[in-house]
């Protein structure tokens, strides 16, 4: 997968957390994923598709990180992953995917994004949409960490 397709997602994630929650996310070195398990307790997934593009982005958070984002978004604290937190993580994934989509459209690469789906539970698997390597980008925010997984395949 071309790194040119990774940077719009990293930029969008950092921008989303800054604007919606006033949180500063810092990206660490990306790596290629070697199994289907995610590291988080809750994961928001968005698929994208167009004639020539297939792929998906997943944001996977440990519980504490998800609760921190929820509080940052809504101004309300909660101590467990509930329906509201699931909705919040789905919408964060939606905004991150949308921002990346917008940046890539500027580079002549356009695609549609799906409505978000959210998976909850330890050691859950995420089925990405393309049969191509999945790139994992670790992030840290304050004392919490989480990952973004991106895969994108151009067909022709």
């Amino acid at each position: 997968m071309d790194v040119r397709y990774i940077n719009p997602f990293i930029n969008s994630l950092i921008n989303t957390l800054k604007m919606m929650m006033d949180l500063d996310a810092v990206a660490a070195t990306p790596f290629v994923k070697d199994n289907s398990k995610t590291s988080g307790d809750i994961t928001g997934v968005i698929g994208f598709a167009e004639k020539k593009i297939m792929g998906s982005v997943a944001l996977s958070f440990p519980e504490k990180a998800a609760l921190m984002l929820f509080e940052g978004m809504t101004g309300e604290a909660t101590d467990e992953i509930n329906r509201d937190v699931e909705d919040c993580i789905g919408e964060v994934a939606n905004i991150v995917a949308g921002g990346a989509k917008t940046e890539m459209a500027g580079q002549g690469l356009s695609f549609n994004i799906s409505v978000p789906s959210v998976v909850v539970g330890q050691n859950h698997s995420i089925r990405h949409k393309a049969e191509t390597p999945v790139i994992v980008i670790p992030f840290s925010v304050k004392d919490e960490t989480f990952v973004m997984e991106v895969t994108m395949k151009l067909t022709d």
């Binding site: 919040c88 995917a97 921002g99 917008t102």
Partner: protein, 118 residues
């Protein structure tokens, strides 16, 4: 002013409504998709709508409102992740008065509302 906030994300509706209430707008109605929104249009003076939603998306909602003589002149602001130039133009062509791209700040939302209804 009676405002209809349409978004499939309850979180996003909550954020937008909190911003509106803090700015003194208290008469607010919610809907989670276009079909629900159409059933709640009575007396609405401003619509804030998402684009990507299940059941009926925001662009279809805009078209429905603009083709309904009862509501065709109600101002509509789209608040969506769809920020690519083509999408913005398509929304404006179909009768959206203004356009806000997520992520947004409270200030952006309030300024756009002022510009549309102020």
């Amino acid at each position: 002013m009676k405002i209809l906030v349409v978004d499939d994300s309850a979180t996003m509706r909550r954020i937008i409504i909190n911003h509106l209430k803090q700015a003194g707008y208290s008469d607010i109605v919610e809907a989670s998709n276009g079909v629900e929104a159409l059933s709640r249009m009575s007396g609405i003076e401003l619509v804030l709508t998402d684009w990507n939603m299940p059941v009926m998306d925001g662009l279809s909602l805009v078209k429905e409102i603009r083709h309904n003589p009862n509501f065709s002149s109600v101002p509509i602001i789209m608040i969506t992740t769809e920020g690519a130039k083509e999408e913005v133009l398509e929304a404006l062509r179909n009768g959206v008065n203004d356009y806000i791209v997520k992520p947004f700040t409270k200030q952006i939302i309030l300024e756009k509302i002022e510009a549309v209804v102020g």
